[in-house]
Symmetry: D3
Subunit: 137 residues, 6 copies
Amino acid sequence: MRISIYRWGHFNAAHRLHNDHWSDEKNKEVFGKCNNPNFHGHNYEMEVRLTGELDPETGYLFDLSELKRIMKSEVEDRYDHKNLNLECSEFKDKNPSAELICYEIYKILRNVIDKKYDIGVKLWETPRNYVMYPAEH
Amino acid sequence: MRISIYRWGHFNAAHRLHNDHWSDEKNKEVFGKCNNPNFHGHNYEMEVRLTGELDPETGYLFDLSELKRIMKSEVEDRYDHKNLNLECSEFKDKNPSAELICYEIYKILRNVIDKKYDIGVKLWETPRNYVMYPAEH
Amino acid sequence: MRISIYRWGHFNAAHRLHNDHWSDEKNKEVFGKCNNPNFHGHNYEMEVRLTGELDPETGYLFDLSELKRIMKSEVEDRYDHKNLNLECSEFKDKNPSAELICYEIYKILRNVIDKKYDIGVKLWETPRNYVMYPAEH
Amino acid sequence: MRISIYRWGHFNAAHRLHNDHWSDEKNKEVFGKCNNPNFHGHNYEMEVRLTGELDPETGYLFDLSELKRIMKSEVEDRYDHKNLNLECSEFKDKNPSAELICYEIYKILRNVIDKKYDIGVKLWETPRNYVMYPAEH
Amino acid sequence: MRISIYRWGHFNAAHRLHNDHWSDEKNKEVFGKCNNPNFHGHNYEMEVRLTGELDPETGYLFDLSELKRIMKSEVEDRYDHKNLNLECSEFKDKNPSAELICYEIYKILRNVIDKKYDIGVKLWETPRNYVMYPAEH
Amino acid sequence: MRISIYRWGHFNAAHRLHNDHWSDEKNKEVFGKCNNPNFHGHNYEMEVRLTGELDPETGYLFDLSELKRIMKSEVEDRYDHKNLNLECSEFKDKNPSAELICYEIYKILRNVIDKKYDIGVKLWETPRNYVMYPAEH
């Protein structure tokens, strides 16, 4: 019996969108005010999904307090109140766009959660837009 | 032309997580404060999805006021202001975890809604975590 | 690397549900108070999903300010503060049900957005019910 | 011991803003797209507040199921799925603006609820703007 | 310069409404399904307000992480995953109605927070109704 | 007839809490992770309230599209996608705490809105905490 569970987490961070291989003009044109060299920031909200076989002894798919602990220690403690461009090595060579932050969170969790569970991550950059990895098909 | 419709419902209930085949120590260790013998409770919010072929005469997939009536008579009246462990026979031998409540709601609705519609159920136990059956793939 | 992005928009409109080929009695019976000849209305909220391959140069799937612009010019400007039955030709011969408004929005966007992106549309008619096209499977 | 309780209700309606004593040009200039002669509509959400002395025998200020019943029979049944301009006599000579709908709801409730309770009404016209009567001071 | 700050907290609990001095019939009549002897439960959400003079050195009214710590240790740890009737002495002789839970939270906080701050508490029993003490005037 | 109207706006910004007259140790101790020299950020949501006498000719207190325009040009364009410490002169000598940003927004609006209207501003720094100026009494 396959089922999915979902849990929310959040962190606040500063970032800037910029491609080092482009001119300032092109960066400004493509990224607009998100290119501000002094940074801006967001309250990021994330939803993590685990899919797998229910454990009939507990009626759980996965212990939610354990999932909460993992999301805090692996993701929130890493990104909360940070400058993503300056302080997170994974964004040294690529843009901390919502898409790529979401993908990094997926990779972090994929590394520490048993492969018998499928994982999905949604990341809200504002209450009006968000991304999802893997893609909804 | 296949389309999906979704409707929300809710109920408030008390429950306790406990496995009768385990010692008190193991129950306490696995279920933590959810194992409190005096029960605790939640405002459960559910989202029911129906998927199928649009009726070209009405522009409806399914009459929403009929779906609302079914959700009230079959699910909300059954669980609202109840103690799930003591008053709902389906949880006599299994835990009223969010996963298994969601699955029971699915079975109840699957029984009364025409098989030409696919059904999906999401169940929020708190605003920060929920489950979905059948699993999101 | 496939990913999905989502953006919200909204419009307020008046509508009425009615099938011209039916008697007044049947219309009243099937559509209830939604059949009111003087119309009623809603705050429609929509969520548009694009799925496709990430652009590694920007870290974007699709420029969100461009998506916002398209949703405004193609959908919101068309439906906002309108009477859907009287002022929108696509509902001359069919009901402006949530299902069919959602499908029209899908067709509008499918027409203007590059085919390399898959599109999905959710449309909320009230905070308690919504529809999705293409169907969730 | 004075305390306040609050309960939410909702209705969907069509309306139009228009001053009969003004020219079409002035109406268009002042009310913009809200002046559309074919109407538009909203999902109105209301919050009703009662303030007064707690009843020590029940621990209630006022029975919430009774307040729910009053809000349904006096307000929701009156306005839900209606055209406020054409079907509600209180708006024959004045605009069904959010401000004046809110004030009418206040007067309706003030008439049927015991004077020992103070009343306040908030009315959301969209998720982004609302009004309150009596004024917050 | 007086200003107000607000912080949210939450707990899940079971309760039952019952007046020991009344007959079973009267209890059933007044409290309806809230009188269920097997209890039911809620996700309680609270909003705590502090009002006072801004500290010009920090730009804070009150350190929010300290307020969060107080709300957790004094309120959430006391009520979360508890049966309010059976496990909380303050409800031995009075009903754990939303009104009286709110009042108890107020008294708990009033006892531990410096008197130079005014305090207000809102308590949601469901997403559709809540109470406030002291009363909104 | 006095009434209140409310409108929401939002902006995203980076900030850091720091008192120049204090040692690094004291700044770290008082402001914790909010003191990060590389900045962090938030999605700020604001609610602006106007209170005054209803205009009987329009049924409006104040034209909401005009209020929206003012909030955009005076507040959102000033703070959106900015670094509040480095780019906004009002925070050169004081901390961009939620309290002081809220107060600055109040002053900006007080300057451009007719004195016959009372003004109130709420500012959310996260979905879980916010401030209000003038104080709720």
